[in-house]
Amino acid sequence: MNPVEETYQRFARLRQTALTVGIVALLISAAGFGMAGKTQFFQSYLYAYMVWMCLTLGLFGLTLLHHTVRGSWGLPILRFLEAGAAALPLMLVLFLPVLAGMQELYPWARPDVVQANEHLQHKTGYLNLPFFVVRAAIYFAIWIGLARVLRKWSLQQDITEDPSLAQKRMNLSAPGLVLFVLTVTFAMIDWVMSLEPLWQSSIYGAWFIVGQGLSAFAFSTTVLLIAARHKPFADVVNPKLTRDLGNLTFAFVILWAYTSFSQFLIMWSANLPEEIVYYVKRNQGGWQYLSAALTVLQFFLPFLLLLSSRVKRYAGLLLKVMVFILVMRVVDLFWIIQPAFGHETLHVHWLDITLLAGIGGLWLAWFAQQVCSAPLLPRHDSRLQEAWLYERSASTVA
């Protein structure tokens, strides 16, 4: 078996393992539906769903970004970005349980709550069940449509080597990015912000998109660096690439801190009851430790580590930082979503974990399947070969 074939085999094995873990975890979670009650189930479900949805959207967003700017950093990870974006149909199916649990999740979806609150009554023009479903359908239609067309043109160019396809992808991706930012902003407002329907933040969409970008960079770099032990990825991973990916992740770490802090500073300074309640909830009952941990571990630590050129030069060190950021993103979404349900003290329910593993298992299996169904590296861009040959000649001489 040739080495590239073996890499395909590894992804196929990942698919099998992930699928098994996912199904087992989902079966256990289904039992939890009866044991822990449906409210807890849907709360854990939405949390787990959003963790993987944010990653999916992040990978999709980076696909659009790559096709727009065509940076050479995007080529080695392009197939992972595309495979992540191709998981959007799966996420559409997995969105159905959220619709089923809306009354458990969203206060504005319960007529008795709306009846008792005049403020909410004024919001029913936007926050109502039919419109919520229609909006979700529009978001998914736009995302899946864009992702499918871009992947088709990308794979097509691998075969036909027609350079006009790159131009077509660029022409679609640039307006696509605008649509992406708009739709994701609305989607995050609908699915997450409206868990606390009396609260609002205008930086919310940007905050989430930056977090998604951070997840996506950490995830795709992690997969790349693990796969880099084998061909064909071993040939394209070099210090220049790891430095680029490290620097981009570094930028997103800073952007995440910037958007998080901007939201906090404005609300803290204004100190208005309807706004500050968001941070009051998240700074008592044990949640304050999570707030502090996120500040230190999702900003200061990765910031200082990625500042060092040494970390970015050695794939092994960079891989550790990336895995760490991914773990912190899972914690970050827990901090964003769980206090919204009114849990006054910090606690992790076992359903949070089994559903995270369940949805994650299906997601990874789908991802691995998509990776296996295409060339592992885009063949259509000559820069991949040029960059690779150049670096090889450089490293053999130096």
């Binding site: 500073l265 050129s309 450089a394 001489v397 130096a398």
Partner: protein, 177 residues
Amino acid sequence: MSVPLHGIIAEYESAEELLHAARRAREAGYTQMDAYSPFPVHGLSEAIGFEDHKVPWVVFISGVIGAIAGFSLQYYVSVIDYPLNVGGRPFLSWPSFIPVTFETTVLFAAFGAFIGMLALNGLPQPYHPVFNAPRFERASQDRFFLCIEASDPLFDRVKTRQFLENTGARLVSEVEE
């Protein structure tokens, strides 16, 4: 021939030739060399074996000092020297101190980068022996230079000259101290 030598310098017509020559010099075991080019050449600092990470540390430490200075200034003003009750907020309103602290961090780090780079390079330097090299003014126009310095343990007036002539140099000349 009694004038001590700074080194032997070779002139090239392109960045690729210079990179190639620098790599060959490194392979031959030379360690003390410097390259001069009209614009930054990618990979050149690695090729001449330049390993110096002092500037990043100067920048980092300047940044830390900037952060401490910015925060301390606000602390001194709002808590010690002139405490004002603003809407019942604590005097030590650290969230509102962060933007200024960030700015002073960047400011000090930028100063650290600029001044640190100049200081570590020994600039400004009105005289450098390499200015004695013929046609060296073209290092800021269209020529690329590689100078193997006399302090190199392998340096030999004749052999080093021969080595550089074999790297495709347009002109090889001695540089007087």
